[in-house]
Symmetry: C2
């Protein structure tokens, strides 16, 4: 059975991609990078989601000798020209402070009315082989930004993005509801044909 590694330490992502591969009838064994404790984190020096996903996938494929999948994602606000984008996780200046990032964004957009609060989550998913071959695809979840956070689920900017037609924020959706429409779910599903082709 072909083994495939997902360049993440997030167990939920591994579970999600494993289910998507199984749904697609693919029988590859999916590992997380925790299976290779000696791997160091890859510096995300790209300036697009696709570049960062490819950087991580290639680095992981080279280091492990296995085909590797990686993703990079963020929130893109229309009136900000797509920012925070690749800077989503460090928007308030230091990495990973979800609450500070979200509150800064709400403060920046305080004067922007509902007609101009369009935004989308974007996710690039990349597949890289140890021989250098690669594929990268993108998934999106479009919606509007709330004026206040709502909901306890999810992470990141989930409490302020209300997907089009849903009436609740991403943080108010159950995990299955969110996975069904999420940018990452779409990107991972869009990557299935590439997995099928390159790992045939």
């Amino acid at each position: 059975m072909t083994r495939l590694i997902l360049a993440t330490r997030n167990a939920a992502k591994v579970t999600e991609l494993r289910a998507i591969l199984a749904d697609a009838g693919l029988s590859h064994e999916l590992l997380g990078v925790d299976a290779f404790p000696e791997l160091s984190d890859v510096k995300e020096t790209g300036v697009t989601f696709a570049e960062n996903a490819l950087l991580k996938a290639h680095a992981t494929a080279r280091a492990t000798g296995l085909p590797a999948v990686a993703d990079d994602s963020g929130l893109c606000v229309d009136v900000l020209g797509g920012a925070p984008g690749i800077f989503s996780a460090r928007w308030a200046g230091r990495h990973g402070d979800d609450r500070a990032n979200l509150e800064l964004l709400l403060a920046q957009l305080a004067d922007i009315d509902g007609a101009h609060r369009g935004a989308h989550f974007a996710c690039a998913a990349a597949l890289a082989l140890p021989d250098g071959r690669e594929r990268v695809v993108e998934g999106r979840l479009t919606g509007v930004l709330r004026f206040e956070a709502a909901g306890d689920g999810g992470f990141g900017y989930d409490p302020i993005l209300e997907p089009d037609g849903v009436g609740r924020t991403c943080a108010e959706l159950s995990p299955p509801e969110k996975n069904a429409i999420s940018h990452r779910g779409k990107a991972f599903r869009a990557l299935v044909p590439a997995v099928r082709e390159l790992l045939a």
Copy 2:
């Protein structure tokens, strides 16, 4: 002599535009809004520099019965898709804290190398007449963002933008040096033909 009002409380802007009009051989008398103490500030609800400049020019022309000029400007960072843009003055969440805005931007871009630090100052200058006629033009000053602030002159993001070919930040330029190349100087000069045409 035709009177013209500049929608700003910044005396330096009035002086600069007055000099530009004089250089162009125009003899309009230029007033600042301080000549009309009863005027309230205009809410900048636009989502582009041009929209905000036009909002301010129209509101001032309506309130005073005089032809009015207004400008709106900010810093546009390439890798941020043009942000901070119209949000430049409130980037760190509250209006007008230059140092916090600049430090947040440097922190957000800390991992972005010199090859991807392109940015420009943009200024929209608008002319509106009490009868509703309008013109709007834009000026830019392109350069790269430093990793640290340098210089004590200017304001806003001047200490971190190094204009192309200059070797110093905008905050290290003398006022005449800065005015000669600045986005606002360019926008005001580009507006001269509209002043000549609409106020003939």
